[in-house]
Symmetry: C2
Subunit: 250 residues, 2 copies
């Protein structure tokens, strides 16, 4: 029946806009599932699929016995694509993303790189270091390690490529899962120079391991943000818990 995108996505999108438009205000109750099913001319299962998406976004509650309630206040969450790509994220904010490649070198995988990318120790990898800017202001230093076959694609791109992500997707490299770790790091001399801060100053660090649909690691990245430029937001609930906390390893 559906042409482009699944039915439940359309229902979800419609509900999202309805909520955004204030049709269902914060704290109000959503129509019952049966009612929505009738209204959209789909089965209850499809409605539930749509509502599950709103649920994990933290847009609505859900509990047995009562209609769903619209939750207010939450920060807008980002699509996976926006989250993974600095460029897309910046654009979605209306900011002008930029970047400058500081270094792009092949090398042999360190222990950590090998482990994160599931390569043999000493396997060939490509490392890219970039300063990322928002409307001209440096906000982040990005150190990414790619496995050889992907790194070669990156190395073949013009140095002023703004978004490697988008280019890699055009080459058929898909990113579908990512595991993030967020903590603090201390700016080293390089960071300090690139970001215009003092060495020794604390930075917000995000380490990220991305995998493709088959579960093969395609990227291992360490991003260091200047304090006060970004914050990370997470929604979770008893039903969906994507967040964790762990002791820092030393």
């Amino acid at each position: 029946m559906p042409g482009a995108s699944p039915l439940y996505r359309k229902v979800a999108a419609d509900l999202r806009t309805a909520i955004a438009a204030g049709e269902y205000g914060s704290g109000e109750r959503l129509p019952a599932e049966d009612e929505l099913a009738r209204r959209y001319g789909v089965s209850r299962g499809t409605v539930r699929q749509a509502l599950a998406a709103l649920r994990t976004d933290g847009l609505v509650t859900s509990r047995r016995g009562t209609r769903r309630v619209v939750l207010g206040g939450g920060t807008r969450l980002q699509s996976f694509a926006e989250l993974r790509s600095f460029t897309r994220w910046a654009r979605s904010l209306g900011e002008e993303p930029g970047g400058r490649v500081v270094a792009l070198d092949p090398g042999d995988a360190t222990d950590e790189e090998a482990s994160q990318l599931q390569l043999d120790e000493g396997a060939r990898v490509f490392r890219v270091r970039r300063v990322r800017t928002l409307s001209g202001t440096p906000v982040m230093v990005e150190r990414t390690t790619y496995p050889e076959h992907i790194g070669e694609l990156v190395a073949g791109m013009p140095l002023d490529t703004v978004s490697y992500s988008e280019q890699l997707e055009l080459h058929g490299v898909l990113f579908t899962d990512a595991h993030h770790t967020i903590d603090l790091a201390v700016a080293d001399a390089d960071d300090a120079e690139l970001l215009g801060c003092r060495a020794g100053e604390a930075l917000l660090r995000e380490r990220r391991r991305s995998t493709d649909p088959a579960g093969t690691p395609v990227e291992w990245s360490q991003d260091r943000y200047l304090p006060g430029t970004v914050a990370f937001t997470v929604h979770n609930s008893t039903a969906t818990s994507a967040l964790g906390r762990r002791l820092s390893e030393r």
Copy 2:
């Protein structure tokens, strides 16, 4: 049919232990859905519900056309309860959780508190400030604001109560959703004294707004961790995106 917990949870639990036991190693393919359905004597829908849970935990991939693949390496994610409660989290690590109440006062809600807890400005709230320790070592300062009716419960508890969460649950206060924001904060004089660090030093900050099943805010908390003690981990994918990134407000 089942008494205590839904069927799909049991299936999910079983698959989780099988994976943990190495029955399906990292990178290996899981049995097909139909096969699992037969094996567990449930319908395919139920198996899919179980697998969806493993999916959002980042334990397995999924894409059309191929069997699911077991993902390796990811840090173990925590249950919602472990995540929300410092006490439970510490216990799950085998550490001894501790805390010392520094201040417990009623007061009038500030603008931010009123907005986060969806109260009228100037409404009565309770504020608790605590130092949290892991096996005796201070790692975090917690500043929590409760709406009046919950704060009164907290105020009625013994000062050496280790876990307010657990006590509140016994009083029927349920936490089901939370929205977290993670960024940096600078230690003020109080933080410095309580944590034994220098004032002005950077701390890892987590701000958290928790709501009950009806969507009513029950807690607004700001936790500041000593650098190097904890890191936050998030898994997300094209299918489930609970993570966001946003510009810091100033």
